[in-house]
Every structure is written in structure tokens, then in C-alpha cells.
Symmetry: D2
């Protein structure tokens, strides 16, 4: 079981990252911080004769690393009740990968286990639910297994570590992941 | 009543744009195509001493134009069961505007009427619902009035014009908007 | 194409009924008013040795009539952001039917087209969405085809007839159903 | 802090009940089993001149006991992706209570803390989310505080006790409730 965490926050050591580090405690995992990568928005050419053009950015490197793992953790702050724009741009590009001969993208992704870790402000445990449903549709489409999610609450950096429910959930996920590796 | 449409598609004349043009038929409206703009992802500095730094891109121009209107139409393709990454990056930047002294952003936005027009593939009328809920939370937060939404279905460019339900909905919204201006 | 409408309202000529009558204008359809039927809550005996016991009420008659049709319209007021309790009790009983040798229930229901018509109060077009999602899960489970839904708004009896968007949607569904029969 | 749990299952010692008993371990709480009560469906007379008629069943006794408590736990199996019909009928009757001079219903309910405990089958942690959203709307309407929810998975009686995530969540809620009383 090889594990990778993809961080969608624009901020170093933000609440979603702190929360995910609790989940990953003592677990070997690769980490990708999308804010350090240059990933351009998709240009949708599904329906043009020439198809998608190669894009010169970090997407290829990132998706290649992702495909090498069995468990993928999507860690994102709840920005405006959704995943961050930089994480969304990353996922939007999957449409290109689905048509990229280098990848066998769908085959490679199917069956992978996915976890979603969200940190948001007030009422995030309710107002983050549409995002959980969106991820469900994404994973269904890719035939991935939605193995679990959790939502923590906190505004100022570090707040989430005071969210007892989130800490309890993180501890549970940590044990679950440990038992898998 | 001044009306502006914000297009989130990466593609010219994609289904979400075609659908929105049906809604806007014979209605004076400004249009912003986010794909033509350079809008960088947010860098969240809400909690840093120096605060947000000015960003050198097209965001300021776009949000200034948006604030001058009374009715805002958010037109987006359903990419991976959410709004497009470029539209999400645009909205993520609102967090900066909320703290930008130039704007009185929240005051200016509150009370504006918002419409959401989504075009997606198979089952979009169901699988687009989490996105509708997300927009509801966004508009609630901004004290905007969520005046209506519609979801069209279509894959290939132009398909949405064959979606009778979408055409019926578009005609209704067109008449509603006409009666307002 | 044989069509049946199941009415969940406790009230004669309530908004959900009025709305559905617009949808059914000039269309031959059977109608079942659940408020006139005695349908007891499920007693869950899936896991007991003796299995479900026969229940002496109107459920058998109702479900038998439903199974004879190709298109099923579920018309319900939005009571507390869900379907009415009497409609829920009716659907809960499906768990019994799934295990009732008389029926071949799942086989008979699969492939049927389902429509959902909801009438609710303020913001029903948003706050009714969890109910639409619930119906999607129900129809998925039964391999039924979720052919369409609409949500009207109105509080006092008859209000929904003043809801222009609902009237436009109803007219569209009416034409769609006419083209099917 | 006086605590009451309302059980919506039709089955004694079903998974939702077992789960809730974990949450309530060593905590003094009143319990109401709706399956033992006769609570009739609402007959909506909000808009009739004579108003609601008194109903001769157990509702009055139940709602009176509920109003005497500060924390209300709604424990329901996920039947067809919603709360059970008997719980829904109970909540539907609140529409009557809102207009019943004996009660000051809204005033009495506002500010109460509400918890929701759901037990369902496969994928309940995803497919139960529309029900969580429905409860949010219910509590918002009543100005109650939605203090927490949890979803356990299990099919056969007792299964939920093998759901490690649910047991972890239950333990957390148990500690939280203990700290409140």
C-alpha cells in the first residue's frame, strides 16, 4: 500500500494540512503541495479535431506520481464551500489525461482508495457536505473507492487542532491507514 | 437593472455559453469570459501580519466591473461535478476582496441578484445539485439573492440546444430577466 | 405508456396536487391519493427467522396498481424538507415487497420512468434539493429511470399556480409526457 | 442539561438503537421509542378556517416530554435514504404544534441542541448526507443548534458494532455529552 497526500491549500501549515498531518502520523507517505506546482487550467479540446495539446507545466509530473500510489488523500481547505481553485484546476486536467495515450489513466486510477480531508470555518461539517458529494461523483466516475472523509473546523491557523471531533476522527483514520500498510 | 454574465468555460461557444446566450437573448448585458483573463489563485494571507499583497493580474478589473451590476449570471460548465477551476479561482479571490479597503466588497455585493447556469453531461440535472448547493452557501455568505438556476445537458458542442428541458428553462429565465430590466 | 400519479399530500387540492394536475393536463393517468389509503409503517423483519408478516391494509392494492404502470409520478408537498410521512411510509414498505414472493418487485419496477413533483414554501427550489437527491438514490437502488423533477413554490392553497417558473416547468413536463404516450 | 433520545426504528435493538446506546453509555437520558407510540400522520389544516383539530393519539405526550429536555438525539435507521416514516410522521406533526396555543412550540424548541444518529447499509456515510442536510434545514427553521451527527454502517442486527469508524465516532460523542451534563 503506497500512500500519497495531495494538499490543496495556498498556505503553508494551514488547518487542512495540520489535520492531514495528524492523519498521517507515523505513516510513510509522499506529499504533493499543489501551491508549489504550476498547474494550468484545462483548455477543453475534447471536441476539436486536433485534440488536446501538450501543456508545459508540472501536471505531468504530479499525475505520474499520483498514479504510482494505491491510496490518495485529497486534503483541501473549504474555500467558498468547495475545494480550492488550485485543487480544482488539478482535477479539471484529468479530462485531458483521460484522452492522453501515455497514461491509461482510467485503468490506472480505478480501484485506488481515496480519502478526503477538509478543513473549514463555522459549520464546515454541514456546509462541506456538497463537496463530499462532489468527490463521491468524481470517484464514482473514475471507479475509485471512496474509503473515507472527515471535516475539521477552524479559522485561524492551528485552530483545527482544538477541534476535538476532528482530532478524534483523525486518530481513527490514522489507525485505519496504519492497519492497511 | 444592469446585468453581467461571467463565463467560466475554457472553450469558446461551449454548451454553458450557448445556453446562457439563450437566456440573454435580446437583453443588454455585459459579458466577461474568464478564459480571456489572467486571474491567479488566491494566496491566503488572512492570518498574516502583513495581510494580502496586491496581485498583478486581471482580477481587479473584473471584480470592479462585476460590482457595478445588479444581476450577476454565473455560467459554468460542470467540470468534474463542480464549477470550472478558473471560475473557482475567481471566487476564491473574493476572500482577498473582503479585506481590501478599496472595495467595500460585502456591502457592494449584498442584495445583488444571482443566477447560476450550468451545462453538463449525462445526469447533470442530478449530479450538478451539489454545485447548486455550494452556490447557495456562497450567496448566503455574501447576502446576495439566489434568484434562480438552471442545468442543461449536453456533451458535444451545441448539444445543449437539443435539450428541450434546458431550452424551456432558458426561455423562462429570458422572459423573467426581460421583465426586470 | 401507462401513467400513474401518487399523491403524498394530506390535503385535497394542495399545491403539489395542483401542480401535478398542470403536468397531467389532457393526459390519461391513474391517480392514487395516499391520504385516502390506510398504509401502515413498515415493521422491519428482514432479519427475523419468520420473515415479514402479511399486513392487513391498503398497501398491497396500491403497489399492485403502481407496478402495472410504466411511468410513475411521485407528487409530494415538501413537509419539513422531505417527502410527507405518508409517502415515506409507503416507500418504506417497499423493503417488505422486495422480499414478498408474490411480486417480483425489483424486476417489475426496474426500467420504469419516475418523475418527482414537489411543492414547498420559501426557497423550496433550494431546500428541496436533498429530497431530489434522496429520490435519485431510491431510483438507482430500484434500477428505475429518474426522468425528471420539478419544484414549485407556494404557501397558501393555490399559490403555486402563481409561480411562473413552476408553471413553465409544468408545461414542459406536460408536453414531454404527451410526446411519450 | 436534560437529554432525550427519540428512536425512529421499527425494530427493537436495531443498528441505530445499538449505536445510540453506545453514545449514551453511562449518561442519564430519557428514551422514546416511536414504534411503541401511536402517532398519526399530519392532516394539514394550516389554511382552513377551523384550523387544526385535536388528534387523539400519543403525539401530545411525546412532544411534551421532548420539550422538557435540552438536548435531543434523533436516532433513525436510514430507510430508503431518509429517516423512517414513523419519525417523519412525528416531525410532520410539528406543523400542527407550531399553531397549537398550548405549546409555545417554537419558543420552547429554539436553542435546544440536536444530534442526529443514523445507521444504514452500504455507503450510508455518503448516501445518508441528504438526510443530514434535511435535518440541518429542520433545525435552522426551529432555531435549534445542530450540535453533531454521525452515520454508522451495518445491515444485519448488530453489524454496526463492528463498524470501527462508527464506534470511534460514538465514543467521541459519548465523551462530548458527558462533558456537557
Amino acid at each position: 500500500m503506497k500512500l500519497i497526500a495531495i494538499y490543496g491549500s495556498s498556505r503553508e501549515k494551514g488547518n487542512s494540512e495540520l489535520l492531514t498531518e495528524q492523519v498521517l502520523k507515523e505513516i510513510p507517505a509522499e506529499r504533493i503541495y499543489l501551491r508549489e506546482k504550476n498547474i494550468l487550467p484545462i483548455v477543453d479540446k475534447r471536441h476539436e479535431a486536433e485534440g488536446f495539446s501538450p501543456v508545459d507545466d508540472d501536471y505531468h509530473e504530479v499525475i505520474t506520481r499520483v498514479m504510482e500510489h494505491d491510496v490518495i488523500i485529497f486534503a483541501t481547505p473549504l474555500y467558498w464551500y468547495g475545494m480550492s481553485g488550485i485543487m480544482k484546476n488539478f482535477i479539471d486536467r484529468w479530462s485531458h489525461s483521460l484522452r492522453d495515450d501515455r497514461y491509461n489513466f482510467k485503468e490506472k486510477m480505478q480501484g485506488k482508495k481515496a480519502y478526503v480531508i477538509i478543513a473549514g470555518g463555522e459549520q464546515a461539517r454541514i456546509k462541506g457536505l456538497p463537496l463530499v458529494q462532489q468527490f463521491q461523483y468524481i470517484f464514482d466516475f473514475m471507479s475509485m473507492h471512496f474509503a473515507g472523509y472527515m471535516i475539521g473546523q477552524g479559522n485561524k491557523p492551528g485552530d483545527v487542532l482544538q477541534d476535538d471531533r476532528a482530532m478524534s476522527d483523525a486518530q481513527y483514520l490514522n489507525q485505519q491507514l496504519k492497519s492497511m500498510i
